[in-house]
């Protein structure tokens, strides 16, 4: 059986860490809200998958990770890439298909990557990045770098083969990788419970492969941070992989304009009442943090989001010259002489 984490209840966090956590939450919330607004203004082509409502998972882990730990995430990857320190302008511009996009417009919303920040990519085929994250952990183990690979994915991902292959390999090779299942109760539109026989789709399966696994309140950033710290250090010290199943909920639909009508109103209401940002804000106020301190953080973030939006909008569209660039390591795309 999986253990339910109860770390933060007892633990004491210092104020600077708490304010950094709050700042990360605020950054994700406001960036994603802006991405949504830009989509409504028809400035974002293609698709996008927001992390509104799920911010605490990305924020808690990023706060706990060493600067050179690897992040692997899914198409729902704006939050995970941003929170590792990737350029906000670069990310916003990528959503808008601009030349100053972090991938120069060649990847788009579902593939955000910032290798300089060890954000090793957003993967859009369900499950593919789990074995890849295990591979990065394997390299770290062999090279003795002490890096840990952290791999985020959804509940729906636990039913695809790559999930099972990756967990088994990670366990049998004792790889420094932490798998993080963001269980938001739904795949795209189908409730995970209707297609999965076990109660905890990530944690229950992980146990079967010999991974340490546990369940955490994914809307409580202190708790996520605490558990992340524990299991990152364990992996770093050679203790092997773990799977953390973080229970959370999307504020909105799966992607773009999905109105998410398939979710019962009571369920939505009860989760929105546990919005991770409202939750954390009131905890910090209770702990005696000044309201103004939090407001100042929010307005600093807003300024940054505004600046990123302006810089993205002002840039020219993605450069057509790059169509033929970087298929190969020599920078080009030649397949013949």
């Amino acid at each position: 059986m999986s253990v339910v984490a109860r770390w933060a209840r007892e633990a004491k966090l210092d104020d600077p860490t708490r304010l950094e956590l709050y700042s990360k939450l605020s950054e994700i919330r406001q960036f994603e809200q802006r991405a949504y607004d830009l989509f409504l203004q028809n400035l974002v082509a293609g698709t996008s998958h927001l992390s509104l409502g799920q911010e605490a998972v990305a924020a808690g882990f990023a706060q706990a990770m060493r600067d050179d730990d690897f992040t692997f995430c899914t198409y729902r990857g704006h939050a995970h890439t941003l929170v590792r320190g990737a350029s906000m302008t670069g990310l916003m511009a990528e959503l808008l298909g601009r030349s100053n996009g972090i991938l120069a417009g060649k990847g788009g919303s579902m593939h955000l990557t910032s290798v300089e920040n060890y954000a090793m990519g957003s993967y859009a085929i369900v499950g593919s990045h789990l074995p890849i994250a295990a591979g990065a952990a394997w390299a770290a183990q062999e090279r003795g770098t002490g890096q840990v690979s952290v791999c985020f994915f959804g509940d729906g991902t636990t039913n695809i083969g790559a999930f099972h292959e990756a967990l088994n390999l990670a366990a049998v090779w004792k790889l420094p990788v932490v798998f993080v299942c963001e269980n938001n109760l739904y795949m795209e539109y189908t409730p995970i419970a209707s297609v999965t026989a076990v109660e905890h789709p990530g944690a229950d399966r992980a146990a079967a492969y010999g991974l340490e696994s546990l369940i955490v309140d994914g809307n409580d950033v202190d708790e996520v941070y605490g558990i992340a710290t524990t299991y990152l250090e364990r992996a770093r010290d050679g203790g092997g992989p773990a799977l953390i199943e973080a229970k959370t909920y999307r504020k909105g639909g799966h992607s773009r304009a999905d109105p998410a009508k398939y979710r019962p109103p009571q369920e939505v209401e009860s989760w929105l009442a546990r919005d991770p940002i409202i939750l954390y804000r009131s905890r910090l106020l209770e702990l005696g943090v000044e309201e103004k301190t939090l407001d100042d953080i929010d307005s600093e973030v807003l300024t940054a989001v505004d600046r990123a939006t302006e810089e993205a909008k002002a840039a020219p569209p993605a450069d057509e010259e790059l169509i033929h660039a970087d298929v190969w390591a020599d920078g080009g795309s030649r397949w013949r002489n």
């Binding site: 991938l103 910032s114 083969g161």
Partner: protein
């Protein structure tokens, strides 16, 4: 020069590169202690130890994924997919992830990796253990595709593939594993994207790859001796990159082109060759381009059926005589 089998040349190529570069690792199913189901990797475990030569679970996605994740973070790994048919179980990792990640990230990620596999027919294994999948890989931008026809090339092209900073699908012709050939002593590294021409006949050029090369060479000798038709054989050696200039030189020298392909007919690499020749050397041709391929059927198992399905030296001879 030492005489090695095609099979031994695999281990020789891997050993040469593992000796030279500590970041070269090798993983796959039954590759370490058992030395590979085709006995291609024997001795590597003893020589390089259990960390650098490692058995995996039967998890093709995990093999391909691990190789990718390791390549993007500092290793230069080689993975083995036991039979190339099994690429179908990890094609997502190969075609969607490995092939595209450098491009999609605007060059942020480099993937110096090789995935080797035993490819093609000849062992009577039936339709799921005998396919020639070079055209699967050739169709995906971002993959290099190499397929050697002799032991020296196995070693030299494998070394070049490992040193290459791009992902390489390295297809070994399983019917050639027992064949022997001279392999240069000392370090041997070939160049990707350079075809080799055998013979200097001026009547026809046979364009071939991997296991079809020795058959084309044999057919060429018979065509010369029995029918007075002068042949040369172009061994493409790699489909991506493709040595079009060597190909077109031979087309101009002969005026007649026959492709000899082990893959099933539709969208085989010879179709691309034909298209290039038609676009760029049509007026050098004295007759139609002819493709000699495995027909568009799954490969049957029985000896007689398999032999009648994959192009043989006799079929090449008959086709050339008839069309010439």
């Amino acid at each position: 020069m030492a005489e090695l089998t095609y099979r031994e040349a695999v281990a020789a190529g891997l050993a040469q590169e593992m000796e030279r570069d500590d970041s070269v690792y090798f993983i796959g199913e039954d590759v370490a202690a058992p030395g590979g189901v085709f006995k291609t990797t024997g001795g590597l475990l003893e020589r390089f130890g259990p960390r650098r030569v490692r058995d995996t679970p039967i998890s093709e996605e995990a093999i391909a994924g691990a190789v990718m994740g390791a390549a993007m973070t500092g290793l230069r790994p080689v993975g083995e997919i036991m039979f190339s048919d099994f690429f179908a179980t990890c094609w997502d990792i190969v075609a969607n992830q490995i092939a595209k990640t450098r491009y999609m990230t605007n060059g942020q990620v480099t993937l110096p990796l090789v995935i080797r596999a035993a490819n093609g027919g000849g062992l009577r294994f039936g339709a799921q253990h005998s396919q020639s999948v070079e055209n699967w890989a050739m169709a995906v931008p971002g993959l290099k595709v190499v397929a050697p026809s002799n032991p020296a090339d196995v070693k030299g092209l494998l070394a070049a593939s490992i040193r290459d900073d791009d992902p390489v699908i390295f297809l070994e012709a399983k019917s050639l594993y027992p064949t022997k050939g001279e392999v240069p002593d000392g370090e041997h590294v070939e160049e990707l994207g350079r075809a080799v021409v055998h013979g200097d006949g001026e009547d026809v050029v046979l364009v071939a790859l991997a296991a079809m090369v020795p058959r084309a060479i044999e057919a060429g000798e018979r065509l010369r001796d029995e029918h007075g038709i002068g042949c040369r054989v172009v061994d493409l050696r790699s489909l991506v990159p493709l040595d079009v200039s060597t190909l077109l030189e031979s087309v101009r020298a002969t005026g007649r082109v026959f492709t000899v392909e082990e893959n099933p007919r539709l969208c085989g690499w010879g179709a691309e060759i034909s298209s290039i020749v038609a676009e760029e050397a049509l007026y050098d041709l004295d007759g139609p381009i002819v493709r000699i391929t495995t027909p568009h059927v799954p490969l049957p198992a029985a000896e007689t059926l398999e032999d009648a399905t994959i192009p043989s030296a006799s079929r090449i001879v008959d086709t050339v005589v008839k069309e010439q």
